[in-house]
Symmetry: C2
Subunit: 346 residues, 2 copies
DNA sequence: TGTTAGCACTCAACCCCATCGAGTGCTAAC
DNA sequence: GTTAGCACTCGATGGGGTTGAGTGCTAACA
């Protein structure tokens, strides 16, 4: 007969994990026997632990050592915890996001807050704004050889681009171009602006010089440009707090991943995909549950935020598997709420 | 009689340092005896080494160990090397800076190149543009409650700022303001734009509403804003290649310094100051020669670059004291030249 | 049938100690 | 001035014993 989880096993497993989260040391039967309200002898605990090991929830690093939670064990714990504790509105009042006028500053700030409050490494991506609508385009002449294009997207995200021109454009032409671009493109979402539309505009521009065509191309390019998501990280050095991550070359790998950001990109797409599929809110990846190679010894907790309609980004905490999941989830949730309301409420 | 440096001592010291740079292990007399063209017995070398130690150029970590270079020893080596080898135009052709249209992208790229080519950590600051001239200001109405100001500085650096306004401004007013700001401010260096001038403009704006006054203030503020220098780092994980930096909590400190960037700021001002004082080109700080606390176990090699008239920034390599100074200096010089010519030549 | 006490066993961690060898400083001879 | 020789130092390495936390198993108990 297959072994089954009962109440007592659950309690013991939880006690083991709790203890391990604190100490980072393998937990023995005696410890559980004494420091739990179960009032069972160590021998009984041993029997149960033996079962739990067989079921795959805990692991013995070597004979004659205590047990540590396996990925499966953590998973069980996290799932139970997530279900139970929807309570406790966090009270970290010191963690207030100030609205920075530069979005990048805001994100850097949030990353720092996350890292500082949790003592783990943190990252946050810039919001992806595909679905956002173009609000306003402004071309102006800077000097004989360059045109400035400013593009404002809903949510007041700015982009600018200096466009080099081979021959000067007179003010009239620029005015005309401005009008043309605005009438055609305003109100459209970035996704709706395609090649056909651009060609149409070029035709209507009437004067078929290369210069004008290249300006329009440059504008179109600038509009599409911000596909590249920015990733901000903070608290990389926090991983030195956890010996199990600092061993061997692990630290180097993790630091590298945080710096290179390419691998983090995979994490992002993984998260957003999961999010699409319905799992919503806070997600937890334990050890090998994430596909990112250098994070196999870590746990990653992610959350999405939505600054404004269609401007969704993602933030996450990266730490050891023995992470204080509750605190991390709380912290993420708090920040998530703050970000969500930041631009909307005003 | 004080001990003096002679040719043979110099050669021996150089051999010690060279060897130590390669191996990272204390160097014994026998090694030098065999692997140098001096053809001296180990005993003779020992005598000389004893002298060198007394003079402070080398250190014995403990009795019965070989010698390692002291900060002073490195300094001697570096000075000699810098004098000797002004030769060898580097030939790292693969290290080509591509002109990115975003300055920040360019700088990130350079930081990566530096780190990748040297296997040390690298940083680069954004250029400081105090002395640069204002080229063009553009105000435009984004919606009822915000005005966008775009400021172009010589060298085509862009700044923008969204200015919230309490009441809508009509297009005429904005046009007028544009004209006013441009006629008064264009061609002035950022330093020349002072409070008096701003007041003058406000007066001339005629209509003494709070709204207009606040817009002008906001523009002035945006002009002054870019004092904050950005610092880009790369290759932090390279320090894991050098055990002497990875010991204890050193790694954590260094990584933290690279991430926090505040300490790096000190480094920057230190460098720029030294530069002012005449020492020009490549500078080397060995161990305690830098004032930055977390870098006492490192060497820092810095160089300044000048993208365009008045746009000077600084880049540096951070690695162990046993750094390949020649290669690093070469790399910096190459990149320096590339950056210097990037915007000018065109 | 579940719980417990007792006991033999395992094994990493620690300390102690002997050995090894790279390296030195000194001295005497060339 | 250079070198050979030698005694000495001391970190590194590795074997061997001890310790202690922890286990699994068994037999007795409720």
């Amino acid at each position: 007969m297959a072994l089954e989880m009962d109440e007592r096993k659950t309690k013991i497993l939880e006690a083991i994990i709790r203890n391990y989260l604190e100490t980072g040391e393998p937990v023995g039967s005696r410890t559980i026997s004494r420091y739990s309200e179960l009032n069972l002898s160590s021998a009984t605990i041993r029997n149960e632990m033996s079962d739990l090991e067989e079921m795959g929830y805990i692991i013995q690093p070597h004979t004659s050592a205590g047990r540590i939670p396996s990925d499966k064990g953590y998973r069980f714990y996290v799932d139970r915890m997530m279900a139970d504790k929807e309570k406790e509105v966090s009270e970290m009042k010191d963690m207030v996001v100030e609205k920075a006028d530069q979005l990048s500053e805001l994100l850097k700030q949030v990353a720092k807050l996350l890292a500082f409050n949790t003592n783990y490494a943190a990252m946050i991506t810039s919001p992806q704004i595909h679905r956002n609508k173009l609000k306003f385009i402004q071309l102006s002449k800077v000097d004989e050889s360059s045109i400035l294009a400013v593009i404002v997207v809903e949510g007041n995200i700015l982009k600018n681009k200096l466009i080099p021109v081979s021959e000067p454009l007179d003010n009239d032409t620029i005015l005309k171009l401005n009008l043309l671009l605005n009438t055609h493109l305003n109100g459209l979402s970035l996704e709706e602006i395609n090649l056909g539309l651009i060609t149409l505009i070029k035709e209507q521009a009437g004067i078929h010089t290369d210069v004008i065509s290249s300006v329009i191309d440059a504008v179109a390019e600038a509009i599409r440009a911000d596909e590249n998501l920015e990733i901000y990280t903070s608290g990389a050095n926090n991983i030195f707090r956890y010996p199990e991550l600092t061993d061997n070359s692990r630290a180097s790998e993790i630091i590298n991943a945080l710096e290179e950001k390419k691998e983090l990109g995979e994490l992002v797409s993984e998260t957003l995909q999961a999010e699409e599929e319905g799992s919503h809110g806070i997600q937890v990846y334990i050890g090998s549950e994430t596909k990112v190679g250098s994070m196999q010894d870590c746990s990653v907790v992610t959350a999405t935020y939505e600054l404004d309609e269609g401007m969704r980004g993602m933030m996450s905490i990266i730490g050891p598997k023995r992470m204080d999941y509750e605190k991390v989830a709380q912290t993420l949730k708090t920040l998530q709420e703050q970000l969500d309301s930041l631009y909307r409420k005003k």
